[in-house]
Symmetry: D2
Subunit: 239 residues, 4 copies
């Protein structure tokens, strides 16, 4: 019998990038200078440039943040991808349940994950569950996934097309994708899919997509530190 695997985390890798603070600068300066300064474009962004990036962020001049690109490889459950792909300013290629047999890897919440929601629609807060609740969720999810995957396997073995057999698989099964975004689209994504102190317009993301968003943000902060810093300094409002 197939070994079913359970995970409680997500995978995010940075596969390709062309993204630097200096990309913002050359794009912004063309409006006032016209002539390209490749020399300037190649240089590191310096202290003097921080003010310009901050001005663009604060006054919501968004287009200079678009001349860059980051490609991430993500493994996360399908219910995360469902939310992710509502973001239309990005490029996606995902593993296909029509073209391949899906692997038996499923997400199960662990005790780091708050289980109980309080408050009203759109402003839910989440608090930890009791030990019994954690046990219940763990047992139910594991049992459900194992049953569903066995059913999937029985249909495949009987010659049923993959695209039909997979309909029984739960939304907690892992999928994988490549997603490409620029920094402006990423800031919009982060503003809606993370929840942080100091955020001007608060959002209430599901924790699992926030786990993906946090890992993406870490990579981005390394690539474009000044841009990331001014994003935070301006209430995490996407320009």
């Amino acid at each position: 019998m197939t070994e079913v695997e359970f995970r409680s985390d997500v995978t995010v890798e940075l596969v390709r990038s062309s993204a630097h603070d200096s990309d913002v600068l050359f794009a912004a300066r063309v409006s006032t200078q016209g002539e390209q300064s490749l020399a300037g474009a190649e240089a590191e962004a310096g202290e003097r440039d921080r003010g310009l990036i901050n001005y663009l962020m604060r006054d919501r001049h968004g287009s200079p943040f678009e001349h860059n690109s980051m490609t991430f490889y993500v493994q996360a459950p399908i219910f995360v991808f469902r939310e992710f792909m509502r973001h239309r300013m990005a490029s996606y290629n995902e593993e296909s349940g029509r073209y391949r047999e899906l692997r038996p890897v499923f997400y199960v919440p662990n005790t780091d994950r708050n289980l109980v929601q309080i408050g009203k629609t759109g402003h839910y807060e989440f608090i930890p569950g009791s030990p019994e609740q954690y046990e219940l969720v763990d047992r139910e999810v594991r049992q459900s996934c194992e049953n569903a995957y066995e059913s999937y396997q029985r249909m495949l073995e009987a010659g049923i097309a993959r695209e039909v057999a997979r309909v029984v698989l739960p939304v907690t099964i892992y999928s994988s994708m490549y997603v490409t975004m620029n920094a402006r689209a990423l800031m919009n994504f982060l503003s809606l899919r993370t929840m942080r102190e100091g955020t001007h317009f608060p959002s209430f993301p599901q924790r699992e997509i926030e786990m993906v968003a946090e890992k993406m943000e870490k990579f981005w902060e390394e690539l474009m530190p000044m841009t990331a810093e001014t994003f935070n300094a301006n209430g995490r409002v996407a320009p």
Copy 2:
């Protein structure tokens, strides 16, 4: 115990529309005439106009097909919505498993649905299954869905948040959404999600999304008959 419902069809309703063949004409004619002719815009498209629409379609002048709008209400399984929402030139609002308890309505393929795929990746053909295969799929899907929904219910009853409990639900559960598109986006959607004789660039959609696409096309043909006719006459290539 909750009554679980099974369906083998999809629902598509036209909720709002502002879409007429004459919308294509006024948009196209502004390039050569400049002045607006509201009189012309109000008039029905006539025989003389068919040639213009055909020329636009054939030579891929796409923008005149964008000045219109159709809003559909769709009920279909989640695996269909997953494919649908890859189309970024549309607006979506969908039922949320975070904000409400999902109803126990599931899709199960019936004997109209071919179950067996032959051929190679990207060019699969589908043929009917044997009576035993249909029985197996029916039994497996029903059993899986019932088990998963019971598990979902047990978690909800134990006070687990809806967004956590729903992870066990299979992708064949129905969801509902409003989707708004213009005719150009719709033609692109149809060219990729239907399979018809006379199509210039063949596609190989999953049958269930094709069922949605066919119903959308029917509404569109009534609203914009000349546009639909020239789309077909030009190999169903989106302009």
Copy 3:
């Protein structure tokens, strides 16, 4: 000799629309209710609904504002259209200087238009000019446009292609277009192209595009009064 015409205003007409406050409501309610309520969708938005629209606007749930459509016919100088078409969430069809001989209609600022800018880049303020400055601008613009149009005519008469001859025409020549947008895209446009008291993120649009934006806003306010009111009540931040 061709009569050259000068104007100091812009034309905006609403040509088509399918846009009501109730469109926002049905789209928002599908997330919590799932089932479509056509009855509800047809009804007028009432007092009880204002709170929901305000909540969506304030918490930046943007997608429910997309299921509607407005088509405007606009006549304005080319330098306005240059700025307008940077907005990518809209559909455009414009009069073509390749396909037709452009009419000799030009924009000249009148004394309602502030002529002198003070302050620094990105935060310019504009103040009226002196009588001599208004006279100068009037004289220079009229003379320049007449000269350019005569040059255009001489080239056309000599058999030069329209697309070549038109290169001498100034950016103040009028063009005309159809533009189609939904309310979410329109709010983004208004937030960037108008300047009003009570705006959360101030913008500094060129006056001539603001004249177009103001006329568009008037039409929209009539179509979707509650949406427009909550947009203003929430600092004119596009959701």
Copy 4:
């Protein structure tokens, strides 16, 4: 008096890029393989991979061509940028006539440029002009541009705001911009803005934007040779 400069060419430079044939491959293979193969992603695309790229292009699987990015710096006349910016799947930052005094550099067609159009709307052909026609165009364009620029200067010297004074400038004045696109958007651009033998859907671009497109294509061919080759082999239809 300011020296006015005339040019008959356009400038295109590749400023940034993250674009390789292998980017197409990893994106395409995730649908059938799921697991990321960074090793594979880093490797050069080989002969075996050509077939996959060709299949994607031919069957119009467009999304794998989106996980890459190219930033170009372009100098061209405003009438070219007007056409360029109708392409919405790209990012733009352009020199601003509001923020800076525009330089007196203008485009004038030289004898490489066909001056006379024959045929009917949408299918014009262009043939060379007579020596007299070339002389006329050269004289008219130079005279018009010089007059307009002098008028612009007189207004600036009288303290008129740049955004007002610039309205007299002709659409043949050069501007500069950064534009960022992925290969899929670029192929769409090329299919509409170049005219070549073997093109499946012919287009009739204005020569000056084609000059820009040709230079962009040269850079792209070097970055993604297999993709460019299969684009040509499949009738230059954007996938």
